[in-house]
Symmetry: C2
Subunit: 564 residues, 2 copies
Amino acid sequence: MKTSQRIVVIGGVACGPKAAARARRRDPSASITIIDEGSLVSYATCGLPYYVSGAVAKRSALLVRSVADFKNVASIDVLLQTRAEAIDRSAHRVHLVSAATGQTSTLEYDKLVIATGSGPVLPNIEGRQLGGIFSVKDVANADAILAWVTTAGVKKAVVVGAGLVGIEMAEVLMTRGLEVTVVEALGRLLPGALDEEISAILARQLGRKGLTLRLNERVLEFEGDEGRVRRVVTAGGTLDADIVIVAIGVRPNVALARAAGLSLGATGGIAVNEMLQTSDPDIYAGGDCVENTHLVSGAKVLAPMGSTANKHGRVIGTNVTGGRETFPGVLGTTVVKALDYHIGRTGLGEEAARAAGFDVVTALVPGSDRVTYYPGAHDILLKVIADARTGRLLGGQGMGRGDLVKRIDVLAAAITFGGTVDALANVDLGYAPPYNTPLDPLHSAANVVRNKMAGMAEGVTPAQVKAKLDAGEDFVLLDVRSQKEWGTWRLETPQVCLIPQDQLQQRLGELPKDKPIVTTCRAGARAYQAALALKGAGFRRVQFAEGSLIAWPYDCFGGERESI
Amino acid sequence: MKTSQRIVVIGGVACGPKAAARARRRDPSASITIIDEGSLVSYATCGLPYYVSGAVAKRSALLVRSVADFKNVASIDVLLQTRAEAIDRSAHRVHLVSAATGQTSTLEYDKLVIATGSGPVLPNIEGRQLGGIFSVKDVANADAILAWVTTAGVKKAVVVGAGLVGIEMAEVLMTRGLEVTVVEALGRLLPGALDEEISAILARQLGRKGLTLRLNERVLEFEGDEGRVRRVVTAGGTLDADIVIVAIGVRPNVALARAAGLSLGATGGIAVNEMLQTSDPDIYAGGDCVENTHLVSGAKVLAPMGSTANKHGRVIGTNVTGGRETFPGVLGTTVVKALDYHIGRTGLGEEAARAAGFDVVTALVPGSDRVTYYPGAHDILLKVIADARTGRLLGGQGMGRGDLVKRIDVLAAAITFGGTVDALANVDLGYAPPYNTPLDPLHSAANVVRNKMAGMAEGVTPAQVKAKLDAGEDFVLLDVRSQKEWGTWRLETPQVCLIPQDQLQQRLGELPKDKPIVTTCRAGARAYQAALALKGAGFRRVQFAEGSLIAWPYDCFGGERESI
């Protein structure tokens, strides 16, 4: 008689429990054990910010499954407060230590799963041990933040790091009524996720909602008294702080794997093949601690996401029970909500695409998330990045108060399956007034890329227009909106002039044939049409401002500006 | 010198104006004329129901562009109240009649675009000329409905036809405070769009919200007095009616094309090639009046959608100006909002897929549109249809109060690009608590299909369970929810028994080994796990109820039922 397979899983959140549960479903007789050094299993790490904000009222809502559940429902043993000290690969044995008693023990495995996750990177600077300085890590940690935030007198917060968790925590603290400053060492909000055009307008809009953002500022020191933080010293000055959240990134937990001699990748994550098998064929690894293949660039990347960890879990659960399933890779898809704004990206950004060797064409397209006559319509700003030779979709990103996330998910699917802008332009997306426009903003973005590839459209980005203005270049910035729109707000620069679109044919004589012209309007469509009309009338050096005024993230305009 | 190209477009809504505008952008010197027999150009047909409901407060919001706009901005001539009587193909000439004066004229073309759209099918029955009987067609018609609806004493409405427009109008009239009955000759709500499982639960839920639905009932006659409708006589009885909306479908307007000798397809639409060229190479056609290729079945289908019409317009605008662009086809994607419910479908339904010769595997999966601990989470019910041999995605549909439409759009993209369930299961969709669950309902649905293909999961649909119960079959319907859930509501049949999931291992002895067992729970996941546990324990004839109780559309349960 065949003895039952012994499966040991190190790590009790997301990937680990998922691998264990899937293994149980495929093999009713296997002996399955999950080990975790914490005191909880299978909780929703991604929900921690919303627990701190109060949106998640009950702590128990974060707990997906209990130890008793695992035992009673799936016959899976969970050993909490138990640390895996070492892996003896030749003996197929894990050395354990109980956090409570210090007792050691060993556990034998036929297949081992490493799902040790990642941990927050902590800055090695003065004052980092002061009370009131937190990273976002686990439930106990969230409890501590919540207690601190709700203490009387806690009014000013500094969030170090403008990445995903930093932005989520900034929102959380703002909704808790704190005055929040985000300090970021790099030059933009969500620097790992967004290109400049999207990031800059997001920064502007969050600023208008009350968030203070300090970019290009490294944190030098935390100052405090009585053991608690009072100030954050940056390269740019000193900020008062009653609480500090450090969110400068996470690092894969690979000490155990490294000590066991398993191969690590250049990213620092555990190296695995498509089956999520490590360099030891009896050891699998998944979740935040491994590196993934980027489906567009082919490069190895870290992708610490609960969604990816769960997918890994299923693949591993299949493979440790004799199946054969593969995990193809990731697109680095990221979505995040910040106050009223929805933000997202998938695939490669423009800079990353260029760095990966692609010849890139992009479109920056504002659009309404549904027909403007339907109640609740909001704008979104979409950027699509494609290969200039083939039109293959490489990435997309955007922000807005409208439904941006749907478009990111559609792009993720299209990119996964090798879609091109030609195909995207004709995808039969569902259309009804409550949900989108007859041509979805994605269709429009695909068409702008196609127009650019065909040489019909020549666009300039807000940053490029800004550079021309800042340099005092001699060109005409031709605004073709109506007199009424012009009256509401406009760019105030010497280069600007207004000729409403419906007067353009008659007033061509007012425009100089010898100067470059950049056309602009509210959102780019009229600017594009005007540029074509000017070219048709013999003007040679005409470009249109992509995204036009609604995507303009800079100052230097008059009147009450409209926002995306 | 080359004379400018003469482009004539017949039809002033959606496809026609889009074709004209695109042609202008590509060819500044072409002479472009749009002809329409109505008195408005370029209005939002799809917005008409929401104009009647009052959601669109201003009539002008429906008007996309005016005649003056076309002239001043794009140098496009628009001739309204002008009917194209005949096309003289050999002379490249259209014969026109002015609706106002009866005067005739002719217009020569180099390229002609037929975008004559579609018109509502009207039942050829007694009383159809009575006042108060409307179809939804154009702005004038919507004005008339609005006037009638807001007349004192108009309280009861009958909508004939439970298709897309029928459901939209039923919602509109309910929000206007009318008592609404929908009469449908076929056996289900949205019969052309939804499979039985989705349609039945939608019907149930709309019924709970106050909509009366009479299926399998043909309308025989309209009765009235003083020239206005008072009653609708159906095969099942007589219904009082102060207003009747007839929405039994639309038919392509092809009289002009047919008279000109252009080829029509078997669907009744104008036959066109991928370039949307008719059988006459100088005549293009697009929008509701042509037939399309279905991208999954390859069959020719009618797809009267504003979204498709706009895409057609761009393709035609390119091709009539010397370009070469193709329109690949449609997926029949449909989305519609009905009260709190979002409904959608794309690709082939299960029946259509079988009819097209596919060996089909499906999954019926309820899920939460975002993590349940995040405020505002709502359920959706998803059905995915795939090819049983290859796992290729063939279609998907669903309903729910949660964000269903996003999932339909992702499926549309995946199907367009030839995606399989294996690939769908690992698509890197954006994950954050406000937007979805770590494994999106789409991932879960793909995994259920994979489990069924692998022989791990054996599902039965609600209809199949119902049939077993109705036939009094001897089997065990094993509910594995908690005692508390059971206390709230349950199926009340002799076959039902409760063994909560966490007691199942200990209480296996209570279950008969010789009878078939169907496991059920709230939404299917626990039922699936329980079925595997039973199989692992030696039970042979075990299936799980797909969608379980939350997807159960029938009566026969006790307590206050939970709804999707």
